[in-house]
Subunit: 307 residues, 2 copies
């Protein structure tokens, strides 16, 4: 059995960090030099709740643990800087799982442009990865959930429905369609688009994690408005259509409420030229709650961990 | 079964935050206004590894989850600002456990002078609490593990040995000595003393979490020096003496290697007038490694999660 300190030394060997990092792994805490206010969020991934070992390779779990957090910083219109990663796992786990997880963390950090600067390691009965991401506002006001106004355009950037469809495929014992399964294993976050949306004048923004309708509902509630989604503006990815056909579930259900998409949804003042990669999907109205094509939506709006 | 969003609303109701918090619980991320560089650390507590439900009330676990993190910021000589708390627990857990945990988090935040500004909640098979603390340098250089110089005085502030003795008492089925058991359930961190030590000129500092000798070994290794601990300068708390007598274990073992003390250990230039509450316990020498009363130490130096 390899010791804790040896293990930490191994997984942090040769770690490269960005220039805003003043002190990285190896002390009681890490130190970063940020501009403007500090933005922070945390997300915990639990084995058999957020991932299964036989559904997701360790590398994908490592990538996902970073992606879902940095996505939350993007949704504030902020500049992501760094992550700290707490990992707990059984003493009997194959050490290569930990190596692959850490390689996934490093790869996603590189993709997201953030630095891994610290963490914690413990034993546990099941694998737990808790990542906290920090970023800075660069002196600009963060984009919250509370600024949507009637008349605003609702738009999304990123994939909707693929992750939920991938989960259903895995649950049924399939490793395909690949597009959907890979998206469930590691969401492809539209890195950089949070700041792009903020610069384009986004009035509210959210990371689509619970499900599109559930998350737009958070925006509607926070902003004191209603939001209507126009399904004629939504496109159905081939992989979602294939899973829908194979399972008899409506494709729209995956897109509206599949969850774990980690797309960005934002509202923009009417007449805003939407940035490249952003797709209009509805509008903000007077009132409260969410409608789909002008009517109440009867299906589930998203995921509830204790529902 | 109460829903996730209702649960989050309940545990965050009426939350008070300090004036440096720009945006608290309820959005994708929280925002704080810090002075100087941002300091960050994370620690994960796992049920049956770091605590047992029948050994520690939920309130004490909540307090401990904050204390062990803020202690790491203190050890950098920084100003602690805020924490985010990720909590996962079984769907079958009594909701009052969660309420009591959150009350403990709030109480310790108040004691430490920090704000609870966000978190995450999930289901899991066993309870997991992962806290991340952030603070700021106030423009001063952080005190790392790497600055100790031969001739420096080694000093500690806080309790040594009580937590380890309390753990042994609990393991043997006893709820006393109270001083030791309470200290194991929630370490009493010497809040504010990290900055005091930094202002007094501390050359290196560390949070004693693994065990005094193991942690001084980190300082020795980081600084490229040797450290000798003079046991005639150590005091044995009554509760440690009682557990030692009852178990036949040497009292010194608890003090030197008990772990989870969350005292602060620091080195100061020779001739420094130590601040109130700090006790000299040894000195920094040329060389490498740790000695006790000038000789090699044969016992365990601390705790290893994978040892």
């Amino acid at each position: 059995m390899i010791g804790e300190f040896e293990l930490i030394a191994r997984v942090t060997r040769g770690l490269e960090v960005n220039s805003d990092v003043e002190l990285s792994v190896g002390d009681d805490a890490a130190v970063v030099s940020l501009q403007g206010d500090t933005v922070v969020c945390t997300d915990i991934l639990i084995e058999n709740v957020h991932f299964k070992q036989h559904w997701s390779p360790a590398h994908a779990v490592g990538r996902k643990s970073v992606a879902v957090n940095v996505s939350d910083l993007e949704a504030m219109g902020c500049r992501p800087s760094s992550v700290v990663v707490a990992l707990a796992f059984p003493k009997t786990l194959d050490p290569s799982w930990v190596d692959d997880f850490e390689a996934g963390v490093r790869d996603e950090c590189r993709t997201a442009g953030v630095s891994l600067i610290g963490g914690d390691m413990s034993s546990s009965e099941h694998i737990v990865a808790c990542v906290t991401a920090i970023g800075d506002t660069m002196g600009r006001s963060p984009v919250t959930r509370n600024g949507a106004r009637p008349g605003d355009v609702v738009a999304v950037c990123g994939n909707l429905g693929l992750s939920g469809a991938g989960l259903v495929a895995l649950q049924r014992g399939f490793g395909s369609p690949k597009d959907a399964v890979l998206e469930h294993q590691t969401p492809s976050v539209p890195y950089g688009q949070g700041r792009v949306a903020a610069e384009a004048g986004a009035t509210a923004m959210i990371d689509v994690s619970d499900g599109l309708l559930a998350d737009l509902d958070h925006v509607a509630e926070g902003s004191g408005v209603a939001i209507d989604v126009d399904t004629s503006l939504l496109t159905t990815p081939d992989a979602v259509a294939r899973v829908a056909a194979a399972t008899g579930k409506p494709a729209l259900g995956f897109i509206l409420a599949g969850g774990e998409d980690h797309a960005l949804a934002a509202t923009f003042p009417p007449g805003t030229g939407l940035p490249d990669g952003w797709q209009r999907i509805g509008e903000v109205r007077e009132g409260t709650g969410i409608t789909v094509d002008g009517a109440a939506y009867e299906g589930a709006k998203g995921w509830d961990h204790f529902g």
